[in-house]
Symmetry: D2
């Protein structure tokens, strides 16, 4: 991470300049503000600003004049109720702004979350730095045999070395050519907006990303999933930690009802009730597709025969 | 405005509980936070929270590590450049949350601005208060003869009195019936969600409304317009003042380029150039519709013959 | 419903003017196009246009060149998989445009669904018709004692008559005054945008509403719920029928996984597994709030002791 | 463009299977449906579906029962009025769905237009083809000296050859390594989601993109601008042609008022009026920044001294 001493000094300064404000604060966020949380080999998440806390959710749900808080226990009950019944609008009342450094292939998945504000570093305006994501050995996995868009076993060490060598070589080689095309020694330099098209999608970019709490939770829900690509999942995991610090009640309800909750179809509920009545249920008589049956068995921690 | 002493005490408490925070502040907003700004006869705008200031716009546009500020002059130049060229995304980096009390017919226009978060007081859950908007005499205007959706002359005093009497009478009468339908004396009370359908759209409701700076500017732009209905325009005017306090550089650029700026069509620009070259331009040779020609003359402060 | 003979003739003409187009069609929609489906006492839903069918969902999910269809069975499997796993973007690839007539208090709930396009009849520009929603006796219910925002028992006949009398009287009286304020006999007429504020929210308005299939399903999901207000639920029910005609595979998957599916929290799943292992589960040892426990018992068709 | 005979056959079939539908059609779109319009060296735009035409805009603006059309002249006047006064919602009433093939660096700019629906070809699920964008000589320009994010002069032929050689070489080399990493001969193949990170952003991807007419116009407005990068501008230019075929009245109004129109600030309008009154205006007395003054002179076709 090319975090220069100058940058660290700026962050230090920001953390040493407390302001006085009449706004509500979140102690868990204050302790994290401006800090660089490293992700992957050169990436990071840095909280630049935030608005609101758990009581802002309650306050909006009640459209109240004051803090909206009655007592902690009643607030928590309301938050859990809202989350359980997908009354989601009050969760839009908190906002967060992040500075994120991430490889382009991760940025391409991230940007699909449309309800957010983004300002990205412009490679038309400025030169990109020589920073590329090279996976660690333990993250170099073979194509999954069962899931067409997932990973399977970790590659054998030697295979891993071969792959890392290729990635490192091509990152380096394309970056050198990027610089050669830009260079103005003995020739006119190619415009930046064209030269950059030579760089692979493991090159790092950065952006400011601002989103409300509800859409942040949706992002985490989708990207923390075991089926999400590892390289975006690590960002989602850090974001989940940030949410836990920021709005602890909301975070707990989110984990209990959304993250760790299970959705069962009408047919699956029927099977469940039959099973609870002592009936045996089998794939043959269930009327589910094989795939759905397996998902169902998994949800119930039952063996897939 | 049924602002009870208890509510005033809550606001007082909020204004007397400064917090320490590492976040950027806006002095102009701190002085306004939580205060009730009265609008119309029973309405208000109250700022509940905000995020960011002028330097947040600059910081995002530059995707910078620190405050994003170089020096005030350079920041202002950048903000004006962004506004002039409609590079609008950095203006999404500030956020505001308001508590608003407003008549339902105003709320129905307001809600058309979709990119915002809203939690409204529920008339299914709670009883509505006996507060109705009754226009002042100077706002009781006849139907415009030239603009099918606008107002013309102020009604003569006697006419105004007749109209105010009707409005006051019907507000009162329907509210009494609303209460009668809800009442459980000697009968079962009708559900709130049904009883309220008897109330006219000049009854007041309230909501929390959260929006980013860009969409707030779009709201103001559309609703501060002389063609907007007076009753929403007064809210937009107050919001413009709030923006001026919050982000003074952005506000000035907004006024110069958007609010007070003029859009000319290709054809109008051609006419203008011909006029500057000493040519006389007339409606007959201009090729514009009558309506467009009049708008053009108006933009140039020229007499419409 | 003031459906004039002229309007009926226009609809007739539209239904008798088949066009030739290279676009995909949906037979179930063609049979419904332009027809007025009556809802409540004066309202309706009328399909004005649509885009796509079940195979459009499949085609987009596969980003394929042709119709995207392999065989019906495989298409259905894919649609069910997408719905089950909330891979929702392909459902945005179908679109529908409706002409809807509805009371203002229903419109106020409807408009909260932000991801849609709307053009409403302007009561600033034109006069509103004398049409008000008056509930039938069987829909006049008392306030629910258990659910603060719901209905309980149907009112006794006499009570119902009293309520209907009030609603009919006030609708009529306010409309007469609306007309008196607008009238220009012996006085200048008040502007339409002001006169209309005297009308209660059971007056009918109408709009064009355009939405993609995904957001239509979200609308239906939320508004067909037994906790939704009856008067919007009847619109949602009609829309569900329209979806069943339009995209039958998508509709079936929607019913099975979303509408009739159940979400269980982490804690509830644990309880369920304990129960399936023969353990007895009780409220006292469950660790759920009373409200959540009751919801759980209900989901399992078990008696709430 | 790897347009296989099979794909061409599918398109042929689609164009030879006219359907009967009651929906409104647009003759200009029917003639274009399904055809592949080539863009850049391997890209294309292909219209997959559409909804509405010019009269749909009028119909929604009038919230009318029938086609909404009075007579062509009056319709055109209304469309021009709506466009001129930025009454934009009726333009949301038309919809288009495209299949687009484009380099990743173009896709990254394109996706910033958030109000649209997208399904992209998944490089986690399938292998990417060996197709890279290599600019023609006339599009290989040096970095602009005046505009930090633009292009200047075309490179000298020899320079251009050097750049093209680099781009072609690196595209080829990284693709070979992509295949080597995926390959399972004598080793386990790396998962697709990782192998693809080695490919530069000039590799082609493809997606389905669905958007309403208003947001399509905003896209074109922004991306057809001379300051937009050439490689996205050519897509915008083709889209403008498509719009002209689809909704000719809307397109003409769009060109006259938005594309070729000029926005002048309050200060610039004042200067203009002074100039029309015979006063000389100079940079020194204008009170504009140098940059803004130059833009102003350009708008008026006046020489920048």
């Amino acid at each position: 991470m090319t975090i220069t001493p100058e940058i660290l000094k700026q962050i230090e300064e920001q953390r040493n300049s407390p302001q006085t404000s009449l706004r509500e604060t979140s102690p868990g966020m204050e302790k994290n503000l401006y800090t660089l949380f490293p992700i992957l080999d050169h990436g990071f998440i840095r909280i630049v600003d935030y608005m609101g806390n758990d009581s802002s959710v309650v306050q909006a749900a009640r459209v109240s004049y004051g803090k909206g808080t009655k007592k902690a226990r009643s607030d928590e009950g309301l938050i859990r109720y809202l989350m359980r019944h997908k009354h989601t609008t009050p969760f839009e009342m908190c906002e967060i702004k992040l500075h994120v450094k991430l490889p382009i292939f991760v940025a391409r998945q991230w940007i699909r979350h449309r309800t957010a504000s983004v300002n990205e570093y412009s490679a038309r305006y400025s030169k990109l730095e020589d920073e590329f994501y090279i996976p660690e050995f333990e993250n170099l996995s073979a194509q999954s045999g069962v899931n067409r868009q997932g990973r399977g076993e970790i590659l054998p060490r030697e295979e891993g070395m071969r792959v890392r060598d290729i990635l490192m070589h091509d990152s380096q080689a394309t970056y050198e050519n990027y610089e050669k095309m830009l260079s103005q020694e003995n020739q006119e330099g190619l415009s930046r907006e064209l030269a950059r098209i030579n760089l692979p999608t493991n090159v790092y970019t950065q952006w400011y990303w601002k989103v409300n709490l509800l859409n942040l939770l949706k992002f985490i829900h989708l990207r923390i999933d075991p089926h999400a690509q590892y390289e975006i999942r690590v960002y989602a995991e850090k974001l989940a930690e940030i949410v836990a610090d920021w709005v602890p009640m909301t975070h707990q309800a989110f984990v209990d009802y959304w993250l760790e909750g299970i959705s069962l179809s009408m047919q699956q509920m029927e099977l469940l009730k039959r099973k609870m009545n002592g009936e045996e249920i089998t794939f043959e008589t269930a009327g589910l597709s094989k795939r759905e049956w397996n998902e169902f068995m998994q949800a119930l921690d039952m063996e897939i025969p």
